[in-house]
Amino acid sequence: MEDGYWLLGRLDWQALPFVRAWRHPSVSEWIGAGAGGLVVIAALAVLVMLTRRKAWRRLWDGWLTSLDHKKIGIMYVVIALVMLTRALIEAVLMRMQQFAAVGDPGFLSPEHFSQLFSTHGTVMIFFMAMPFLTGIINYVMPLQIGARDVSFPLLNSISLMLTAAGAALVMISLVVGQFSTGGWSAYPPYTGIQFSPGVGPDYWIWAVTLSSIASTLSGLNFAVTIYKERAPGMTLFRMPLFCWTTLCTSILMIFAMAPLTVASLMLALDRYAGFHFFTAEAGGNLMNYANLFWLFGHPEVYILILPAFGVYSSVISTYSGKTLYGYKSLVYATLAIAVLSFTVWLHHFFTMGQTANVNAIFGIATMLIGVPTGVKVYDWLLTLLRGRIRFTAPMLFSIMFLVTFVVGGITGVILANPPVDFVVHNSLFLVAHFHNMLIPGLLFGMIAATQHWFPKAFGFRLDETWGKISFWCWAVGFYLAFMPLYALGLMGAMRRTSEWLRPDYSPLMLIALLGALLLFAGFVSLLVQLGVSVRHRDRYRVPVGDPWDGHSLEWATSAPPPEYNFALIPRVEARDAFRQMKRRGIAYARPEAYTDIAMPKNSAVGPIIGLAGAGLGFALTWHIGWLAVLGFSVIVGAVIARSFVRETERLIPAASVREHHERWLDAVAATPRVPRVQELCPSNRGHAEPMA
């Protein structure tokens, strides 16, 4: 064994992209080194800024150790946005390569290209989509059911920090070593030790394992919260639809993440300990991995999409000034989708060589999901019918979702037919299809959610003009970027291809590239929107907290809400609880008495476990024994130590609750109500004149 192995494991200078670029200079390596450099510089810049502003203490006390579900939610969204930036840049790079590489090797080496699609896919699913929806759920769901926090606030913080640890590992792989080249699905034996002897798949394994454990815990937390923490009178069938979709997503998380955790750990055993689960030899079989992975993978797409369905339900009914059409239908459709999503995983490998019987059954099961999904789309359409529709930014995203999602649904049914899937499996047709589902069905939903709930979280509205500019970029960009891929797929162009031997692919590749650039412009516009809104925040303030004439309880409290959400837990008597309160004139009523409120104390356990988890993952990736032992011991130690802490709660005295609440009620009384036509004017201070 070499000197220093005990200290650094397999780490050496070659692990640094800068060294690689120095030794073998090429455009591809320079891009790699540039990306690594960017990560280092950005990290340093953040550190310097925090130090110069003396913000460490504030960050630690106010955010990192906080157990407030609202702050945890916001931190999740921040992670999602950082990772989205990276994954989008990678997407544009891939599009440039595939355009440049028509009848030409292009500017990226095949190796580099395969890292790009692997990290893009892994990041988008595990470190963009999952944190984004978990963040939105975290922020909104407890408010909507009239709770003060989730059931297990510390567990919530641990989930967040484990997710952050996984994301950090993927970012570190840009600077130290290389990520996997095996795609987001990491099929063995390609990702086995024989074919991928480097550290890439190990980064994938540990990043995904951290994330899957975090998501399992989040699922448990959300489900229990919905079962146990609802305000008095908030029966299940009075919950906003977003809470229903959250409940279903949580149940899916509980049951669907486990196969992934198991699959990635079995792959780890193959790689680290010479096991043969997924090799061809000694009784192993790679298709067992495919089964386990998609047993997670298919429910996963519904984990991703259901919360967005909830967002669209809120947004569409709010901005058309109507109650949701077909609430019960939507609930049953959601439940049906959740159950059926476990019965279709085999459609990801119709081409495995199983009998026609098996294929036909799974194909038909897949098409069945189309029924409840179609019902939902029409329920939303009927919600718009006979409304008074305001075309605000979140509404535009929702409308674009309706149209685009149906296109994706059509191609989904095409793919569900084994005979046709034989032709388009693994092709760009498939790539077009899943982006066609995930961009409208997830990303648009999350963007709509941020536009809709941002004023609640930060106390001021977002700039509407930039929101609309962004919307048009996303909408047009999407069609340009992905419609050509359907055609290319039918023409026989396969996914994960770094160069094309057919010169005539050029025009369609060019259109797709322009689309990707436009999509990126849409993302940049969102950042500009944020900047502009922060600059003009005084003009956009909505302290009363109900800028959109909302229907559910989150609008019944101030913006931003106090730590304990509601001075007095509201009493719910109907669906659309806050809308009904406004109608009956009991919104903003003065409570007769106040009580002390117990809230969870800050805890450093979350960040400690997150840091140790990242250390453990890094150590396992690089075979650094001592660090792995240390990381693992710290995690176990922190959990044990925490169990001895007696005083986990802090009492907020009734007097201070009263003072805060009365001040807000006075402000409400002093703020004029605005009708919907003035919704976007500075006069909208969050006191809505109810439409109906």
Binding site: L286, G326, R386, I410, L490
Partner: protein, 296 residues
């Protein structure tokens, strides 16, 4: 310098391609240019699905713009029913219509899945040709057990006679496909799968691996030549006259990761390499992969 010349080259081929595409209407591509009954059936099945799906989706595409326009906030003339939340008739329709369409499509899917089952021998008056296919990093080996010849990255098919491909992989998971003839099938290490196809038109068709397997993936292509039966016999006889033999040493060389510039032909085959590779991978330790060898 290099970059700019590439860009001019690209833009020139772009012009050529745009005009080509417009003129030919996507001719000679994948499903758009099916060259056998399997691909043709797959294409018509696809069109049928699109047709039925339009039945459920067109109402949305038509109604949505209308609803958005009519019920816009400024149109005070439109009725406004903020509490309207249910209609039995509409509810029956929005559940019923998708159920009907999915039933029809489900029935069709069932029928076609059986008819186009890749394992089902294609009915024809002559017995099928059997060709063994081994996916390697990053090439395809074709063995004609009856004729005792073999080739790499080139396969010859008799027009009008069904072909039964038996597939395996000497390395990782791969997927074998000739887009203009029809669907694909996985080639898996240690396992044997099947794909039945038939070419009804003579021509040269592109074949490829669709499942990513490393650096040389983009170049793992082969040519499928569909020729008349007489020509087929002639070509095989020509191959048999080739001196090169597919022996153990050649096989070992082929199994090392590499990309080939042109096809190889072998006039004789030692033993039964196809089944030997399957058995060897099952026994264990059979992978022959040297990751150090580059793609080009």
């Amino acid at each position: 310098m290099r970059v700019s010349s590439r860009w001019t080259r690209n833009s020139r081929s772009l012009l050529a391609a745009v005009s080509g595409l417009l003129l030919s209407g996507c001719a000679d591509y994948g499903l758009f240019a099916a060259a056998g009954p399997v691909a043709e059936a797959q294409r018509s099945h696809l069109l049928l699905i699109v047709g039925w799906m339009l039945v459920v989706s067109l109402p949305l595409f038509v109604a949505l713009p209308f609803v958005l326009w009519r019920y816009r906030q400024r149109n005070r003339k439109a009725d406004y029913r903020p509490d309207w939340e249910f209609s039995r008739l509409l509810e029956t329709l929005i559940w019923g219509l998708p159920i009907v369409v999915v039933s029809v499509l489900g029935y069709e899917a069932w029928r076609q899945t059986y008819r186009l089952d890749p394992y089902r021998p294609i009915p024809a008056d002559r017995p099928p040709v059997e060709i063994q296919v081994v996916g390697m990093d990053w090439k395809w080996l074709f063995i004609y057990p009856a004729a005792g010849v073999a080739a790499v990255n080139e396969v010859i098919l008799p027009v009008g006679r069904p072909v039964r491909f038996r597939l395996t992989s000497a390395t990782v998971l791969q997927s074998f496909m000739i887009p203009r003839l029809g669907g694909q099938m996985y080639a898996m290490p240690g396992m044997v799968s099947q794909l039945n196809l038939i070419a009804t038109r003579a021509g040269e068709y592109r074949g490829l691996n669709t499942q990513f397997n490393g650096e040389g993936f983009a170049r793992q292509k082969f040519i499928a030549r569909a020729v008349s039966e007489a020509r087929y016999r002639q070509l095989l006889a020509g191959m048999a006259a080739t001196e090169a033999a597919l022996d153990a040493a050649t096989l070992a060389r082929l199994r090392r990761a590499s990309v080939l510039d042109s096809p190889l032909r072998f006039g004789s085959v030692d033993g039964d390499p196809f089944n030997a590779i399957v058995a060897q991978l099952r026994r264990g330790g059979g992978y022959a992969f040297t990751p150090a060898v580059g793609a080009r």
